[in-house]
């Protein structure tokens, strides 16, 4: 069984995001970039399945500028076998990502495709679902537990009401929740070994698909600053203020 895992390079979750002065986007120059956190869970799960003997190969794929390769390299350092880097500049929207991944699935013929439930930069939460539609494969989104069975997957999903257990046939798409596992650390010897693992590079423009953005981004701005709170001296005053000033009751 082969597992394809899609990973994305995003601004590190600890970095305080800064909006460009002209409102055209956020500042990325000299900003620490990392793998999208739930993508780390996706890689970890794939590697665990391989270690349990139920998969034979884990392939990590990413789309983006030259430096996005680091994200694949990181996946290789925690146990992926080989990588694919699809070179593309600028904004690639979820539909374009899904179409690119569809091409890679046609080429690689994996049994499972894993990815994070969403990326922390655009928060779209669409790629897995769109890929599932394009391939006409079953999908299990927000997975917090995966049990691999013969030709089937049992997946526990994180949903608003609690947990939902579903069973789907493979091949399938799974998008991973942060609760799925605890990603391992890349050890120093494994980082060195990862430098020798192969990464195939392809150009998005050579895949014969339209990846131009369909959404026009008009403006990016910071959320409005929260106003300072006030202290009230009694419940009566609170009720009075909620009624007359905030007008919420």
């Amino acid at each position: 069984m082969k597992i394809l895992v899609a990973v994305k390079r995003v601004i590190d979750y600890n970095v305080q995001i800064r909006v460009k002065e002209d409102g055209s986007g956020v500042v990325t120059d000299n900003v620490k970039m990392s793998t999208n956190p739930p993508d780390d869970n996706a890689i970890e799960e794939a590697v665990k399945i391989k270690e349990s003997g139920k998969a034979t190969e884990v392939v990590a794929v990413t789309i983006g500028e030259e430096k996005a390769q680091e994200t694949v390299r990181k996946a290789l350092a925690v146990g992926a076998d080989r990588g694919i880097h699809i070179k593309a500049d600028g904004v690639i929207e979820p539909l374009a990502v899904s179409k690119i991944l569809q091409k890679i699935v046609d080429k690689e013929k994996p049994d499972l495709v894993f990815m994070g439930k969403q990326a922390i930069d655009d928060d779209c939460n669409q790629t897995g679902q769109m890929l599932s539609a394009l391939l006409n494969w079953p999908q299990a989104t927000f997975a917090s537990k995966i049990n691999v069975k013969e030709g089937k997957l049992e997946v526990i999903r994180e949903i608003d009401e609690g947990l939902e257990t579903i069973e789907i046939n493979t091949p399938a798409i799974v998008t991973c929740d942060l609760r799925l596992n605890e990603p391992r650390y890349a050890s120093l010897p494994n980082i060195m070994k990862a430098k020798k693992k192969p990464i195939e590079q392809l150009n998005a423009s050579d895949l014969g698909i339209d990846i131009t953005p369909k959404i026009q981004q008009i403006k990016v701005e910071e959320p409005p600053k929260r106003k300072a709170g006030i202290k009230v001296s009694s419940v009566a005053e609170l009720v009075q203020k909620l009624k007359n000033e905030a007008k919420v009751i």
């Binding site: 600890n14 970095v15 305080q16 002065e21 620490k32 990392s34 990603p183 050890s187 120093l188």
Partner: protein, 539 residues
């Protein structure tokens, strides 16, 4: 579980200017050498903070074609000012009357973090193996006592010291020579200085704490290439310190403050002095209407030659400010740090190829321009122990008339942890409230550093005696850690009328001030789990 080990020709601890210069020079001298460089930050540059007005002298020697290599050194200093501040006034000191070492017209305003990122790329192109996110936490010794390498930190240890599921043991990295380039108050360098008695016969080391904020300011207030330094207000005559304001590219100014850690009043809060300084009319007019985008702090070395330890020992060398090569009157250390690394590289090649002793490092350093600079600079900092006014008068005589060649050397008498007077002897300082426009509280400042440490790991700020902060330091000094820490790590909280000392180690921005200033030397900074700490951008 046993640790794996890997052998290299040279192991370098720390990816700042000195460590990276060592690595690059080594590869230039012998491209076949296997060199590994460890960095505790998540990437090269993420723990680097500096002013920085950069003198290119060492870089000119190391990579003469730096201009063609797309280096991030772009903004030449175009104009300079030195201001004495009174509470509401400022007096401009003519630049031509400044000592030559404080004139900057051939220098550049840079982000040292970005310079290090670029140096890291140059080193990787040459084949240096760089491992960010791997702090060296332990020194390894041969049986006969020489240094044989370092071990990286175990990953995946919980608060109580137990192994988590994700446990990953550290690795032993063994080198024919190990180079320690951790920067000011390196926690391994400190152990080496003690074990090999490297500072015997030297004056106690002197430190400062430096703050830096980056502001994006209005066009009309921005003058790219402009460099301003100030002395005076808000500090009193007996406290050593001053500010810098550098107009960098992209409408940014690098605004900072440095205070000598030999200050005496335990009520002094370096952070609040810096915040207050920004409200001075001469400073406020530049930054008003602007936006603060970064904050950080780091301790720096101020001791100079008198405090410089021996820089070699069996199997290892100290470079840059892990030893203490900063030139205080010049307010610069990057060039001397790089130079010390380059000299270290030459020494290491002779050691590996001709089996010459590492002691050659000291002699080579003594013959270099870096040493001559430090020698000429040596009397400036100690003269300020007489106060700002006498310090300036003496410095004028020493630096302008005698060009640093006076036939005597002043001494540093005390270590910085010995200088605090008791809280009840010293005046309390009433700092103004933060306005959230020009001045900000520590919490919102720390937020800008992007600092983070994985949850559930041991506290990396160790107390030798856990009761001392409350039983002694609070009583005697009003627990100054609450004020000297620039990140709000230390708090004294009252719980059911009982005082409790709280360490918020996840806030730590790795400045090392607590390790230096704690009056009983009760706090020891050790490496947290890899990648922890600030995520500085263009600091």
């Amino acid at each position: 579980m046993g640790r794996e080990s890997m052998e290299y020709d040279v192991v370098i601890v720390g990816g700042g200017p000195s460590g990276l210069a060592t690595a690059i020079k080594l590869k230039q001298l012998d491209s076949k050498l296997n060199i590994c460089l460890l960095e505790k930050a998540s990437e090269i540059g993420a723990h680097i903070l500096s002013g920085n007005v950069f003198e290119t002298r060492a870089l000119d020697e190391l990579l003469p074609n730096w201009k063609e290599l797309n280096s991030p050194i772009k903004t030449k200093v175009s104009k300079e000012k030195f201001l004495f501040l009174g509470k509401n006034r400022s007096l401009s000191w003519p630049t031509w009357l400044l000592p030559k070492v404080q004139q900057n017209h051939n220098n550049y305003i840079i982000s040292l973090a970005n310079l290090c990122r670029w140096l890291g790329e140059q080193a990787e192109v040459l084949g240096v193996e760089i491992f960010p996110g791997f702090p060296a936490s332990e020194i390894l010794y041969n049986d006969e006592g020489s240094v044989k390498g370092v071990a990286t930190q175990d990953m995946g240890i919980d608060k109580e010291g137990n192994q988590k599921d994700s446990f990953e043991p550290g690795i032993e990295l063994l080198g024919k020579v190990t180079v320690f380039a951790e920067g000011c108050r390196g926690h391994l360098g400190k152990q080496l200085i003690e074990k090999f008695k490297l500072s015997e016969g030297k004056d106690p080391q002197q430190y400062g704490i430096g703050f830096k904020e980056i502001w994006e300011i209005e066009d009309k207030n921005h003058e790219e290439g402009m460099v301003t330094h100030t002395a005076g207000w808000p500090l009193d005559n007996n406290t050593y310190g001053g500010s810098f304001m550098y107009h960098a590219e992209n409408k940014q100014v690098f605004l900072g403050y440095v205070i000598g850690l030999d200050y005496k009043n335990p009520h002094l809060s370096p952070y609040d002095e810096f915040q207050r300084f920004k409200t001075h009319p001469a400073i406020r007019k530049i930054i008003s209407g602007g936006k603060r985008i970064s904050y950080g702090a780091r301790a720096l070395i101020e001791g100079g030659l008198q405090s410089l330890p021996k820089m070699y020992m069996p199997g290892a060398l100290l470079v840059g400010c892990d030893a203490g090569t900063l030139n205080m009157p010049k307010i610069k250390g990057s060039h001397t740090a790089m130079k010390s690394g380059m000299i270290a590289a030459e020494t290491i090649i002779e050691k590996i190829k001709e089996n010459k002793s590492l002691s050659g490092y000291e002699e080579k350093f003594k013959n270099s321009w870096a040493y001559k600079e430090l020698h000429a600079a040596r009397n400036v900092k100690p003269s300020f122990s007489w106060g700002l006014i006498l310090g300036i008068i003496f410095t004028g005589i020493d630096q302008i008339l005698f060009k640093g060649k006076l036939p005597f050397t002043l001494k540093h008498k005390h270590a910085d942890h010995e200088t605090l007077k008791s809280a009840n002897e010293m005046p309390k300082i009433d700092y103004p409230k933060y306005d959230n426009v020009i001045t900000f509280d520590k919490t919102s400042s720390v937020y800008l550093t992007g600092t983070n440490h994985a949850d559930n790991q041991p506290v990396h700020l160790k107390l030798k005696d856990p009761d001392l902060p409350i039983s002694y330091t609070l009583e005697k000094f009003d627990e100054p850690a609450q004020r000297y820490c620039p990140a709000g790590v230390y708090e004294v909280q009252k719980e059911n009328d009982v005082n409790k000392f709280v360490i918020n180690s996840q806030n730590c921005i790795h400045c090392k001030t607590c390790d230096i200033k704690e009056p009983s030397q009760n706090i020891t900074w050790v490496t947290p789990e890899g990648s922890g700490g600030p995520k500085y951008g263009n600091m």
